[in-house]
């Protein structure tokens, strides 16, 4: 398995013909206060599967961890991959929509993508306390009631 695309973005979808559309790729967001909520982000993945991946069930795990390695959330799934002919490959798209994700503090977070227990990709998300120096990044909203970390 080879991770062809692993990005955080404002929006992604899968169109007809298994086309992965991604808009607004980012890695840094600003929040004026904490705790804070990121209304929406998308983790878009495109995995290339080859002959040796076919005809088996694989473990796919995605976890969000902070810079201290604390696991913030984890999504695990079994991926049943049909047989793939020698010399052929198959691409699989995954769009994970995260709505209302709360963060207790600034720092560097990362999505870790593991395939059969082996980390295959990492997507960093840097959260900075303050306001964006230029324009409007993905919007963060201060939300009372979320517990600090």
């Amino acid at each position: 398995m080879d991770v062809q695309v692993a990005v955080l973005a404002d929006y992604a979808n899968v169109a007809a013909g298994d086309k992965l559309n991604v808009m607004g790729i980012f890695d840094t967001i600003w929040a004026p206060t904490f705790p804070t909520v990121l209304p929406f982000m998308v983790l878009a993945l495109r995995l290339r599967l080859d002959y040796e991946d076919g005809g088996r069930t694989h473990d796919l795990a995605i976890s969000l961890r902070d810079e201290d390695g604390r696991e913030y959330l984890r999504a695990a799934a079994k991926a049943n991959v049909a047989a793939i002919e020698p010399g052929r490959f198959q691409n699989v798209n995954q769009v994970l929509n995260f709505a209302g994700t709360g963060f207790g503090k600034a720092g560097t977070y990362a999505f870790h993508i593991a395939w059969d227990g082996v980390e295959s990709a990492r997507v960093d998300l840097i959260i900075i306390e303050g306001t964006s120096p230029g324009g409007s990044p993905p919007g963060m909203t201060g939300t009372p009631g979320l517990p600090p970390s």
Binding site: N13, V14, A16, G17, V37, P39, F40, D66, R70, E71, Y72, L73, R74, A75, A77, V92, N93, Q94, V95, L96, N97, F98, A99, G100, T101, G102, G104, G139, T141, T143, G145, L146, P147, S149
Partner: protein
């Protein structure tokens, strides 16, 4: 935009949310996703002590939603959920007879 494929109960609740997206609790948005066929996995445990389910659709395994629990969901989050369902409805409509092309 909505299309064929969504059950009437989902369409009714979707229009109710769309008409006034302010102040919805996340449990109602989870209900909306559930009516659209997104089933809930076991709650994902988080370091901050929240139980956060990942919702997936058995027939559309490439589309997943993680909606964090709040008593009053921010309007931007609610509108994004509406957008996800609109996108899903468009996909269903396309599946029911749209054109495919390279």
């Amino acid at each position: 935009m909505t299309g064929p494929g969504l059950p009437q109960a989902a369409l009714d609740l979707l229009e109710e949310v769309r008409a006034d997206p302010v102040g919805w609790p996340s449990i109602d948005l989870h209900k909306l996703l559930s009516l659209c066929g997104f089933t809930s996995s076991e709650p994902l445990k988080t370091a901050q002590g929240w139980d956060v389910p990942l919702r997936y659709h058995s027939e559309h395994p490439d589309l997943n939603v993680v909606l964090f629990p709040t008593e009053r969901v921010h309007v931007a989050v609610t509108l994004h959920i509406v957008r996800i369902i609109d996108m899903f409805a468009a996909r269903l409509a396309h599946t029911h007879g749209g054109a495919h092309g390279p």
